[in-house]
């Protein structure tokens, strides 16, 4: 491994790698936020919905969790454009990851909510809280503690899955790295570097998750 050559090429490629990293972060943040919001509704529908709604949402979750993310990305990019909805590669990729994230978050939320004893909801009702108030003031704070560790796990999965967007031509960190490799032939060095950056990203996410966990834990 020629270290000084690698550093020179890394410096030359810094702008394209940084813009790739920016895209990776943007894709991940957008998908996790949108997917989590959608996922909370999915979880709520699974827990409190009418029977027909639960059935539909169950199909949605099982279908999305049972499909490889890769297939989901291709479907969002190609099938939607046949139907007439023409998304850019970036939009299609974020949509696919959002759907994938929502199915996971939905299942996490459902699990957390059903772990809270029924008595809590009944008590909230008896003091006159509406369903919305019950959810926000009684159930959600308790459920959050359950949700957080697995949610952080899902977020790191999304960061890793964002590499698959390179297939439909989104120049995120992996494709930006491959572009540098094709020019410099330093495959080992640059793949190691990309791996290290992905590790750093996920390490930061995990540490942030731990910090929040410590703050909200019941002493």
């Amino acid at each position: 491994m020629n270290f000084s050559l690698f550093l020179t090429e890394l410096w030359n490629a810094r702008l394209s790698l940084l813009s790739g990293l920016g895209d990776t972060i943007l894709i991940s943040v957008a998908s996790v936020i949108l997917g989590s919001v959608l996922g909370v509704f999915v979880g709520l529908a699974m827990t409190y919905g009418a029977k027909w709604l639960r059935f539909i949402v169950r199909l949605y979750i099982d279908f999305l969790r049972g499909t490889p993310v890769f297939v989901l990305i291709l479907a969002c990019f190609y099938i939607l454009s046949v139907v007439g909805l023409d998304l850019t590669a970036f939009q299609a990729g974020v949509l696919a990851l959002t759907l994938f994230c929502s199915s996971h978050v939905g299942e996490i939320v459902r699990g957390a909510l059903s772990a809270i004893p029924q008595g809590q909801t009944e008590a909230a009702k008896s003091v006159g809280l509406t369903f919305g108030q019950t959810f926000v003031y009684v159930l959600l704070p308790q459920a959050l503690r359950q949700i957080l560790p697995t949610w952080v796990n899902t977020a790191t999965e999304i960061v890793k899955a964002s590499t698959l967007l390179s297939i439909i031509g989104v120049v995120e960190l992996l494709l930006a790295t491959q572009q540098v490799i094709s020019r410099t032939y330093l495959s080992l060095e640059f793949y190691l570097f990309a791996g290290f950056v992905y590790f750093l990203l996920n390490f930061v996410i995990e540490q942030a998750g731990r910090a929040v966990e410590r703050r909200i834990s019941i002493p």
Partner: protein, 282 residues
């Protein structure tokens, strides 16, 4: 149940209506007019294969495929920069054409009959083949010397199911060493573990452009294949236009543009097409 049935019928009807609309509009206006109205060309190409299409250190997409797209943009708008690039993987070439994600694809696409059933090819703008790269100061000067060398010669080649068969077609007695990556293959040649490296003629020439005077071409190439751009089938006007542009690039008014690009990426000065009787009918 009745609800589901209605839904199914409605979906089918919408889909049929949408596709009917699609064909109708395609018949009315050619892609040529659509691109002219839009003001820029959407070109599908890759970004990880020099000298065809790659991102240079100034973060710009360059290469011979990219130049073919620029030639078409120049013909459309008088400005080779009026292009929006869709950086696609090799697998995406045909799907992106068929689903109208790109106006045309120039991405070292080998013309095959199977592909021609799905898309329409333009006229070829390059003929690819396999060649042999030698060290300029090595023991073997050219192809004939390698052939006489028999089993003393080791040829480095990129790992591939057909790699051995491919090398044997040119050098029946030579030893074949397969490598996983291009850099290892060149390394084998540099270190003398192999006396020749068999690789695409274009890759070989590009490597020689980057390392002047270090290597030489053995002067024999085989396994011909044509590289063409592709367009969505069914739009003769657009196909004719792109064909005309490529044709005039190789033989007519835009020859300097084509030749300049050829020189940049393959290091070879092209001869000006003979004036008088058109060269293509010879």
């Amino acid at each position: 149940m009745a609800f589901l049935k209605t839904l199914a019928v409605a979906t089918v009807m919408t889909a049929t209506a949408a596709s009917a609309l699609g064909t109708a509009s395609a018949q009315e206006t050619s892609k040529l007019q659509q691109v002219l109205d839009r003001g820029y060309l959407v070109l599908g190409t890759g970004s990880t294969n020099p000298p065809w299409h790659f991102v240079d250190s100034d973060n710009k997409l360059k290469g011979f495929d990219v130049d073919m797209g620029r030639l078409v943009a120049k013909a459309l708008f008088g400005d080779p920069e009026k292009i929006e690039y869709v950086q696609q993987s090799g697998d995406a070439r045909i799907p992106n054409l068929v689903t109208d994600k790109v106006d045309m694809a120039c991405q070292f696409m080998t013309v095959t009959a199977e592909r021609a059933q799905q898309i329409e090819f333009t006229i070829p703008y390059y003929r690819e083949g396999v060649g042999l790269l030698l060290m300029a100061n090595g023991d073997y000067a050219d192809y004939d010397a390698l052939k006489e060398g028999g089993d003393d010669v080791t040829v480095a080649v990129l790992q591939n199911v057909y790699a051995e068969e491919m090398v044997r077609a040119a050098l029946p007695e030579a030893e074949v060493d397969q490598y996983d990556s291009v850099d290892l293959m060149y390394q084998a040649l540099n270190s003398g573990r192999a006396q020749a490296a068999a690789t695409d003629q274009s890759a070989l020439r590009w490597f020689m452009v980057q390392n002047p005077d270090r290597y030489t071409d053995a002067g024999y190439a085989w396994n011909p294949q044509s590289y063409s751009c592709g367009v969505k089938p069914g739009d003769q006007r657009w196909l004719n236009f792109v064909n005309t542009v490529l044709h005039e690039g190789m033989t007519g008014v835009e020859f300097p543009f084509y030749a300049e690009s050829f020189k940049t990426w393959f290091g070879e000065e092209l001869e000006t097409p003979k004036i008088g009787f058109p060269v293509e009918y010879k």
